[in-house]
């Protein structure tokens, strides 16, 4: 192909994917960028998981065996940062990239070059973060919540790198969120009215607004940490007129909406999968949209429930307790709607459905323990124990991550045009399901019995459960290698070809285009009934 023809044809959208490294480096195609995000997230999931294995190996029995306490703290910190900012969030962004344009009948994301940037700054951010682990003094060791003054006056010299990498992650998220909002507002196919949009699109739209609202707050928090540590300011230092508790208010004003950033897209995914395999329309579509919106709004007025022990006035404690309890109403509505969707359906149990069902049960367990945590007097007992660790791993691992796996299994045949290896997928599901519960369920017990979180060694009474927890952890970690094998096979395009609809009962624009989805879709907008 000569340069001349390329220039002449540059408005012709029917070329295929370029090949080689440049395809991925320069790509502005939403499907390529979606794939990049998903692979990046999976690699980070394995890296963060490896750190969890170090943590669980150290906690396998009482005493210090494998790592010193300082390195242990680095592992818990970086594990949290990697899983939140490197695994869950990029995975959802990857799914948004792949699916939002296909679901609303758009040819691509609205801002494709920014899309490329928002992905390609991420590997740099995580290289900086991970590199700090190998430097003198080690990586960040103050917990992923980086409470001041542990992260300012008392932190090690690599804190600036942590701050810089969080800034880059934030910029990436904000750019991704802007892209999603602009795409959904401007590029819906004719007839795709707001209340016809698939719930995945709705939940991501709301998530994107949350991201734009709170990522700058996180950027502000890390910047204040930076200036407190290196430039002599006293935002969080009482000696200079600051307040360490103010850090927590600022952090959790970001942090609580962040929790919903990591779960709202999951609600969208489950709301797509349950109707398909129940062969019945989603129950209460409109109430799902309103419930998601109210969860998002409420998420801005509950942040201090992470801080009940900091010594707030009792009036504030009561307010945040009531507000937090209120969130369980719209969340309950969602779960009830999913169950009502299944009720008198015609159900089958393909792998995406297995993950979605496990999601409903286990996420509900995590949600109910969250309701218990909202009750301030008992939160004084639960706070900063393994009960909290159990709670947020139920909502994040068996919630967010199971939903991502469900989504990958659900849409993978559409992406590759081939059915994945169902035997491996079932192995992956059952091994993950069993091991994840051996891993996280006993954490409730040790937490109630009084084991604090973030400790490298523990009293003898916690020894037996911790052994089980560690064994469950190793098994869950190994189970993900089955997923890796399955994904490699899928990317090599092995497997039976699938139809355009893939799953009988699947409805939506993405199931009307051929499988595999062509490199460019919806050059002319589809007609939405």
């Amino acid at each position: 192909m000569s340069t001349a023809t390329t220039e002449l044809d540059h408005d012709d959208h029917h070329h295929g994917a370029p090949s080689g490294i440049k395809r991925w480096l320069y790509t502005t195609n939403h499907k390529d960028i979606g794939t990049l995000y998903l692979w990046f997230a999976f690699i980070m999931f394995l890296v963060g998981g490896a750190m969890a294995m170090v943590i669980r190996a150290e906690l396998f029995q009482p005493g210090l065996q494998i790592v010193d306490p300082n390195f242990f703290n680095q592992m818990t910190t970086v594990h949290g940062l990697i899983m939140v900012f490197g695994a869950v969030m990029p995975a959802f962004t990857g799914l948004a990239n792949w699916l939002v344009p296909m679901m609303i009948g758009a040819p691509d994301m609205a801002l494709p070059r920014m899309n490329n940037w928002s992905f390609w700054i991420l590997p740099g951010a995580f290289t900086i973060l991970l590199a700090s682990l190998f430097m003198e003094g080690g990586g960040p060791a103050f917990g992923w919540t980086f409470y001041a003054p542990l992260s300012t006056t008392y932190s090690n010299d690599t804190t600036a790198l942590f701050v810089f990498s969080v800034h880059i992650m934030g910029i990436s998220s904000i750019m991704g969120a802007i892209n999603v909002i602009v795409t959904i507002f401007n590029m819906r196919a004719p007839g795709m009215t707001w209340m016809k949009m698939p719930l995945f699109v709705w939940t991501w739209l709301i998530t994107a607004f949350l991201l734009i609202a709170v990522m700058p707050v996180l950027a502000g928090a890390v910047t204040m940490v930076l200036t407190d540590k290196y430039f002599g300011t006293s935002f969080f230092d009482a000696a200079g007129g600051g307040d360490p508790v103010m850090f927590q208010h600022i952090f959790w004003f970001f942090g609580h909406p962040e929790v919903y950033i990591m779960i709202l897209p999951a609600f969208g995914i489950i709301s797509a999968i349950i109707p398909t395999f129940s062969r019945k329309k989603l129950f209460g579509y409109a109430s799902m949209v309103y419930a998601t919106t109210s969860i998002a709004l409420l998420s801005f007025i509950v942040w201090a429930h992470h801080m009940f022990t900091t010594g707030m006035p009792v009036e504030a404690e009561l307010f945040f307790m009531f507000a937090t309890m209120l969130i369980s109403v719209p969340t309950g509505v969602k779960v009830f709607n999913w169950v009502a969707t299944m009720w008198r359906g015609s159900m089958t149990f393909e792998v995406p459905m297995l993950f979605a069902l496990a999601f409903i049960v286990l996420f509900t367990i995590g949600g109910l323990s969250g309701l218990m945590l909202a009750i301030v007097p008992v939160d004084f007992q639960y706070h900063d124990t393994y009960f909290v660790v159990a709670h947020f791993h139920y909502v994040l691992v068996t919630g967010a991550i199971f939903s991502i796996m469900a989504a990958v299994y659900y849409w993978l045949p559409k992406w590759t045009g081939k059915m994945f290896d169902v035997t491996l997928a079932k192995w992956h599901f059952w091994c993950s399901l069993i091991s994840v519960n051996v891993l996280f369920f006993p954490m409730h017990f040790v937490g109630l019995a009084g084991m604090p979180r973030r400790i490298p060694d523990y009293a003898l009474q916690f020894a037996d459960f911790n052994k089980w927890i560690s064994l469950g952890g190793f098994a869950f970690g190994l189970s993900q290698l089955i997923f890796l094998a399955l994904l490699i096979k899928a990317c090599r395009k092995q497997g039976e070809p699938v139809s355009a609809q893939v799953w009988d009962g699947a409805e939506g624009l993405e199931w009307e285009i051929p499988s595999p989805a062509p490199y460019h879709t919806f050059d002319t907008p589809p007609v939405v009934k």
């Binding site: 008392y154 360490p244 508790v245 062969r279 009830f336 706070h383 019995a449 604090p452």
Partner: protein, 384 residues
Amino acid sequence: MKKIWSGAMTILTSIIAFSAFADSGTAVDQYQLNLRKGVTDISAEVYDLHMLMFIICVVIGLLVFAAMFWSMFFHRKSRGVKPANFHESVKVEIAWTIIPFIILIVMAFPAAKTLIAMEDSSNPDVTVLVTGSQWKWHYKYMENDVEFFSVMATQQEQINNKFDKGENYLLEVDRPLVIPTGQKVRFLVTSDDVIHSWWVPDFAVKKDANPGFINEAWTRVNEPGIYRGQCAELCGKDHGFMPVVVVAKDPAEYNAWIAEQEEMQRKAKEEEQRLLAMNMSMDELMTIGEQVYLRACAACHQPNGQGLPGVFPSLVGTDMIKNDMPGHIDIVVNGKTGTAMQAFSKQLTMSEIAAVVTYERNAWGNNTGEMVQAKDINAVMTGQ
């Protein structure tokens, strides 16, 4: 239908029975599953609240899961079921918005009542100032002239798996806090460096220790005994090695104890003044210095004096060690603001500081040959 319902009830009752059984365990119960009832009226209320929440959550969970599993068994395609067509019902949706809301109100009342009681620390009988610092607690009795540090007593060899672990591994201290039973004890909680959190599960008291601010909590212990807890907020490297031990004695015993402590601490101060006039030999200084070093300094600067590069500085062959004895004494006595280096004038006696400075200047090949005596420390502390 009836069969399934009775099955669900069996599971529910066995869960409740199991958890009721579980709370009868002691502190060292290997299979303790549940929150402990504790030894105060408040902690018992908290426990009841916890059980109420737990049972409500279990019932809601079981109802939801029962409906879901019912569908999964009876509404499956392999049974030839044709899907129904309904996909909304305003009545049902309003019902499952309103009913949970009512359940929440039922939960909110007892929770608010207990919370307000917990936060009322007025009219205490005894007040203790609890100060956290990296990685020890300091207790000061506000009505008496008694104050002391409380440091973990578990040997490093147990942690490193060289010795067998004792019964109270990681939950034992050199000097526990002593409080009277049956009296309202108020804790004023603060910190000298990072945020810590003072937690005794048996009292249902957990309060963050924030540097520069003072939090309040209180308890009234019903049973004499030894109660153990831990620091609950990540506070750096040795966060896991910062236990809290509280001994509750009946008021008569407590009064005797506090009088004895007052007397002892007064005598110790006199003794310290007397020792100012005496010089210790190099051997004495080095022996005491090593003990003090391992207790107070080795957590950061490491037993070999090398520190942790990039985190805690080394003490081997540095400029301060070789050339700057006054600077060395000053940093140990007054600490260094803006770093983790604490002021040890409050924690160690003058002769202990003298010994540990001597030790640091002569151990690990530093060999300066210099001796520091208690009177040198006194000179720095009194600004002479």
